[in-house]
C-alpha cells in the first residue's frame, strides 16, 4: 500500500497541470527541476531526468528509463521600499512539481534515441495570476506576481549521434479574452458577456554536444512568452450614458525571449558548468494596455497610451557545480552549488510609475540522493536558493517629484528564498 500512497500523493501533487495551460515565469525565476535549481539554473549542457523539457529538451535524447518525479517548492519574497519611512512587503508562493520522462521504444535506427518529457510547476489553487496595479502604486511586479502561474512544458529529445542531441519543447500559458456588450432600448438594458480562456505557446529549442570526453556544450533558445488579458466593453443605445469602448487589457505574465549558452566539464564525480543567459527584455510592451483606444478619425483623444516601460536587455552569468559520492552500487549522493547574477531590466523610476526591481545575486545549494527501497530505484532531491536584491535608489524628476512628493526619492531592497523538495522513481 506504500506504493498506492505514493501514487495518491503523486496525483495530488500533479493536480491541474493540464487544466489550462501555462508557461513560464516561475521557471525563469528559479529554474525547473531540483538539479538545475541547486546549481543556479545551470544544466543546459548536462543533466538528468525529466525536467529537461524546460532546461534543455535535447537532454531527453537517449534516455532509456521511464521516470516520474513529484515535489513541492516554497518561495518567500521579502521586499521593501523606503521613503520617509520603511514599508515591508512579504509574500509566499507555494507550488507543486511534476516531471515525467517517457523514452519512446521505437526500434531500428531510433532505438533508445527518442524520449518525451513533461514538466509542470503549479502554484497552489492557481493557474495564473493577473496583478496589474495602477502604476503609481509601489510594487515589485517582476518578483512574486511572476511566480504565480502554472509553468508547463513538454519536450522531445533525439540523440542524433553519440555526441549530439537536439530537442524541441513547447511551453503553455493561459490568457483570458472576453467581450461585454451592453445594449438598451425602451428602458430595458441587457448585458451579454462572452469569455474565452485561451492559450499562448512558446517554443524551446535546444542542442547539446559532447565536444570531448569531458566537455559538454549546451545551447537553448526560448521564444518570448506572454499571457494576455483582454476584456472589451462596448455600449450601444443605452440612453443618456455614453462611454467610449473600454479595453481592460494587460500582460500579467511575461517571459522575454532568451538564449542560454553553457559549457560544462563532466567526469564520473564532478560537473562544473559556466553559463550565461541573455534575456531580450527590451521587447516587453508594458504591463497595462490603453483603456480607451480612439478611432483613427478621432482628433481629440483623452486617454493616452501608458508610458513605455523602457526595459533593457540583460545578460545573466551563472556557474554551477556538482560532486557525486558513490557509496554502494545502489546508493549515491550528489552535492550541488551555484551562483548567478541577475541584472534588472527595469529603469530607474524617475517618472510617474513606482514599479520597482533590482539586480539580484543568487546563491544556491542542492543535494541529491539515489537509493533503492527493495527493487524500487528512488531519487530524493533538495534545493535551496537565496536571492539578494541589491540596494537601489529611485529619484523622480522634478515634475513628478512635485506630483508625488512622498515618492520623490525611494530606496528599495529585498530578499527571495526558495526551498524545494522532490522524490523521483524510475519505473
Amino acid at each position: 500500500m506504500t506504493t498506492l500512497r505514493a501514487l495518491t500523493c503523486a496525483l495530488g501533487v500533479a493536480q491541474l497541470l493540464w487544466c489550462a495551460a501555462a508557461g513560464a515565469s516561475p521557471a525563469d525565476l528559479f529554474g525547473v527541476g531540483l538539479r538545475p535549481q541547486g546549481m543556479a539554473q545551470t544544466g543546459a549542457a548536462h543533466g538528468e531526468h525529466d525536467h529537461q523539457s524546460y532546461t534543455n529538451p535535447a537532454l531527453l535524447g537517449g534516455r532509456t528509463e521511464q521516470h516520474l518525479s513529484l515535489g513541492y517548492q516554497s518561495a518567500l519574497f521579502r521586499t521593501s521600499y523606503r521613503t520617509d519611512s520603511p514599508y515591508d512587503m512579504q509574500q509566499a508562493v507555494d507550488s507543486t512539481l511534476l516531471g515525467v520522462t517517457l523514452p519512446l521504444p521505437f526500434g531500428a535506427a531510433l532505438q533508445e534515441r527518442v524520449a518525451l518529457g513533461f514538466s509542470a510547476l503549479n502554484p497552489r489553487k492557481l493557474v495564473t495570476r493577473a496583478e496589474l496595479w495602477f502604476p503609481e502604486r509601489p510594487q515589485f511586479p517582476l518578483l512574486a506576481p511572476r511566480a504565480q502561474t502554472l509553468s508547463l512544458t513538454a519536450g522531445l529529445g533525439v540523440e542524433v549521434t553519440e555526441s549530439l542531441r537536439v530537442g524541441l519543447g513547447i511551453r503553455w500559458l493561459a490568457g483570458l479574452t472576453a467581450s461585454v456588450m451592453v445594449s438598451g432600448a425602451d428602458d430595458e438594458t441587457t448585458t451579454v458577456v462572452r469569455d474565452e480562456l485561451v492559450t499562448s505557446t512558446a517554443l524551446v529549442v535546444g542542442v547539446q554536444a559532447e565536444a570531448t570526453e569531458h566537455l559538454r556544450l549546451g545551447l537553448v533558445w526560448r521564444e518570448a512568452h506572454q499571457s494576455e488579458l483582454e476584456v472589451a466593453i462596448t455600449l450601444s443605445e443605452v440612453g443618456a450614458l455614453v462611454l467610449p469602448p473600454l479595453n481592460v487589457t494587460g500582460i500579467p505574465q511575461y517571459d522575454p525571449e532568451q538564449v542560454d549558452l553553457e559549457l560544462a566539464w563532466v567526469d564520473e564525480r564532478w560537473q562544473v558548468s559556466l553559463a550565461t543567459r541573455f534575456r531580450r527584455w527590451a521587447a516587453f510592451p508594458g504591463f497595462l494596455g490603453q483603456t480607451v483606444v480612439c478611432p483613427s478619425a478621432e482628433e481629440r483623444c483623452g486617454t493616452a497610451a501608458p508610458a513605455a516601460p523602457g526595459f533593457s536587455n540583460t545578460w545573466s552569468p551563472r556557474a554551477g557545480a556538482a560532486y557525486r559520492l558513490p557509496f554502494t552500487p545502489t546508493l549515491s549522493a550528489e552535492l550541488r552549488a551555484g551562483v548567478a547574477y541577475e541584472p534588472s531590466p527595469m529603469p530607474e523610476q524617475s517618472q510617474a510609475s513606482n514599479t520597482y526591481d533590482s539586480a539580484r545575486w543568487v546563491a544556491s545549494l542542492g543535494y541529491g540522493l539515489d537509493f533503492q527501497v527493495g527493487d524500487v530505484p528512488l531519487e530524493l532531491g533538495l534545493a535551496l536558493q537565496q536571492h539578494w536584491l541589491t540596494a537601489r535608489t529611485h529619484e523622480k524628476s522634478p515634475e513628478f517629484a512635485e506630483q508625488q512628493p512622498k515618492f520623490a526619492s525611494v530606496s528599495t531592497s529585498g530578499q527571495v528564498q526558495l526551498v524545494a523538495l522532490s522524490l523521483g522513481v524510475t519505473f
Binding site: Q15, V127, T291, C294
Partner: protein, 452 residues
C-alpha cells in the same frame, strides 16, 4: 440630473464586465460526448474492457492492464441541432483535439502505469456566456462542451486479475476584479466621449479546483472483466468585482461617482459519479454493459447573484436621483434529480489477415434528463436523450522493428436524439408562458493510437 439616472445602465456594464457572471456550469465535455473514437463508438461502455488512452477517463485502473506504451492523437467534430420554442439554439459546433499517453512499467515487479488524457477545444481552453434568471439555457450543451478536459492518472496491478487506479482532473475559472478610474466626458456641447481620460487596474486570478477519481478493474478470466469507478463532485465558486471611480464631466457641472459591483456565481459544477461495468468477451466479441449514477440533485444554480453600491457627490444645490442598491436576489435551488445512465457497447473483430484486423463497433446509451420541468422563472433546457453510435477502424501489427505493437486507427459516429419536451409555466411572472426543447446532434471522431 438625468445623466446620472443612467447609472443603472452602468451597473449593467460593470455586472457584465464581472466575468464571474459567465457560466459553464455542468462541465465537462467528455461527460456529455465521451472520449476517444473507440470508446465513443461503444457508447462509453468501456470501463471494464477499455484498452486505450480513454480509460484515463472511464476507468484509470484499466491502465495497469495495458502492456505497451501508447501515444494517441485524435479529432472530434460535433454538430448541435437543438431548438427551444421552435427557434434554433444557435449553439456552435464543438471541434476538439484529443491527446493521450499510456506509459506502463514496473515498480518492484508490480505492473504500474501512468496515463494522461486531454481533450482540447479548438482555438480556446473554455468558452462561456453569462446567464440571468429567465435566460434559455441548455445546461448540458452551453459552455460545458467548450471546456478543456484533462486527466492524469496512475494505476497499479498488485494481483494479475486486479488493478486499482487513481487520478485527478481539474476545472478553472476566473476570480477577482478590476477598477476603472478617470474622467468620463459626456458627448455634449460638441465634445466627444473619446475625450474621456480613463485607466484601469486588474487584480484577478485564474483559479482551479481538482477532483479525484478512484477506480478498480477485475479480470477473473480471459472472458470476463469488471470495473468500478468513482469521480468526486467539483465546483468552482467565483466572486468577481468591478469598480468605477470617475468624474462625469458634463461641461457645465462635474459629478464624482463611485460605483462598485460584486458578482457571485457557481461557475462550474461536476456531479459525483459512480460507474459499474461488466464485460464478456467470447471469441472475437466484446460485449459490455455499464451503469453510471450521477448525483445531479446537488447541482447549484448557475445564475449569478449581484450586489451593487453607488455613491455620488454632486455640487451643492444639485439634486440627483441615484439608482437603488437592491439586495441580491436569492438563487433558487434548481431541483435537479439524480439519474442512472445505462450504456451498452459491442465490438466484433474481423481478422482480415494475420497482421490486419477490422473492428466493428456499436453502442447505445439512454440518458434521462435530471432537469425538472421548468414551471418557474428559470428556463434550464434539457430532455431525455438517446445516443446511438457506431464505429470501425483498422488494427495493424507486425511493423517491427520500427513499431513493436499493434497500431490502431479508429473512427466513430454518434447520433443523439432528444425527446421533445414541452412545459407550461405556472409562475405568473415567468416568460415565455410555454417552453419547448427538442433536437438532435451528431458527432464524428477519429484517432490514431500508436503502440510502441
Amino acid at each position: 440630473m438625468k445623466r446620472l439616472g443612467a447609472l443603472a445602465l452602468l451597473r449593467c456594464l460593470l455586472v457584465g464586465a464581472g466575468l464571474g457572471a459567465s457560466s459553464s456550469a455542468g462541465a465537462t465535455p467528455v461527460d456529455s460526448l465521451g472520449l476517444g473514437a473507440r470508446s465513443k463508438a461503444l457508447a462509453g461502455a468501456v470501463a471494464a474492457s477499455g484498452r486505450d488512452f480513454s480509460v484515463s477517463y472511464y476507468n484509470p485502473a484499466r491502465l495497469a492492464f495495458l502492456e505497451r506504451m501508447q501515444l494517441s492523437f485524435g479529432y472530434t467534430h460535433t454538430e448541435l441541432g437543438l431548438s427551444q420554442n421552435e427557434q434554433p439554439s444557435g449553439l456552435p459546433a464543438v471541434r476538439a483535439f484529443g491527446f493521450g499517453v499510456v506509459a506502463p512499467g514496473r515498480v518492484a515487479g508490480v505492473p504500474v502505469a501512468f496515463g494522461l488524457a486531454v481533450q482540447l477545444p479548438r482555438g480556446h481552453l473554455s468558452q462561456g456566456q453569462s446567464i440571468r434568471e429567465g435566460d434559455p439555457y441548455w445546461v448540458f450543451y452551453e459552455g460545458r462542451l467548450q471546456l478543456l478536459y484533462t486527466s492524469l492518472n496512475l494505476a497499479l496491478r498488485p494481483l494479475p486479475w486486479w488493478s486499482i487506479g487513481i487520478g485527478t482532473a481539474s476545472l478553472a475559472a476566473t476570480d477577482g476584479g478590476f477598477d476603472v478610474r478617470g474622467t468620463v466626458v459626456a458627448p455634449e456641447f460638441e465634445r466627444s466621449e473619446y475625450e474621456s481620460d480613463l485607466e484601469h487596474q486588474v487584480d484577478a486570478n485564474l483559479i482551479s479546483v481538482r477532483y479525484p477519481q478512484l477506480a478498480m478493474a477485475f479480470e477473473p478470466s480471459a472472458r470476463l472483466s469488471f470495473g468500478i469507478s468513482y469521480r468526486e463532485e467539483a465546483k468552482v465558486e467565483t466572486t468577481v468585482s468591478a469598480g468605477l471611480d470617475a468624474t462625469i464631466d458634463g461641461t457645465i457641472i462635474e459629478v464624482p461617482i463611485r460605483y462598485d459591483v460584486m458578482v457571485e456565481s457557481v461557475k462550474m459544477f461536476i456531479p459525483r459519479q459512480l460507474n459499474l461495468a461488466a464485460a464478456w468477451s467470447p471469441g472475437a466479441w466484446i460485449l459490455e454493459l455499464d451503469v453510471t449514477w450521477n448525483d445531479w440533485s446537488t447541482y447549484e444554480s448557475p445564475v449569478s447573484s449581484t450586489t451593487t453600491v453607488v455613491e455620488a457627490d454632486p455640487p451643492e444645490g444639485v439634486e440627483i436621483e441615484l439608482p437603488e442598491s437592491p439586495e441580491p436576489p436569492r438563487r433558487a435551488h434548481p431541483g435537479f434529480k439524480d439519474r442512472w445512465v445505462p450504456r451498452l457497447g459491442a465490438e466484433y473483430r474481423v481478422e482480415l489477415h494475420t497482421r490486419l484486423t477490422l473492428p466493428l463497433r456499436a453502442g447505445y446509451v439512454y440518458e434521462a434528463s435530471p432537469v425538472p420541468s421548468q414551471r418557474g422563472r428559470t428556463n434550464f433546457l434539457d430532455a431525455d436523450r438517446h445516443v446511438f453510435s457506431a464505429g470501425t477502424g483498422v488494427s495493424v501489427a507486425g511493423l517491427e522493428p520500427w513499431l513493436g505493437g499493434t497500431q490502431h486507427l479508429n473512427v466513430a459516429v454518434q447520433l443523439g436524439v432528444l425527446e421533445a419536451r414541452e412545459v407550461e409555466k405556472s409562475e405568473p411572472a415567468a416568460t415565455p408562458r410555454r417552453i419547448t426543447a427538442e433536437g438532435s446532434f451528431w458527432a464524428l471522431s477519429a484517432d490514431l493510437s500508436l503502440e510502441l
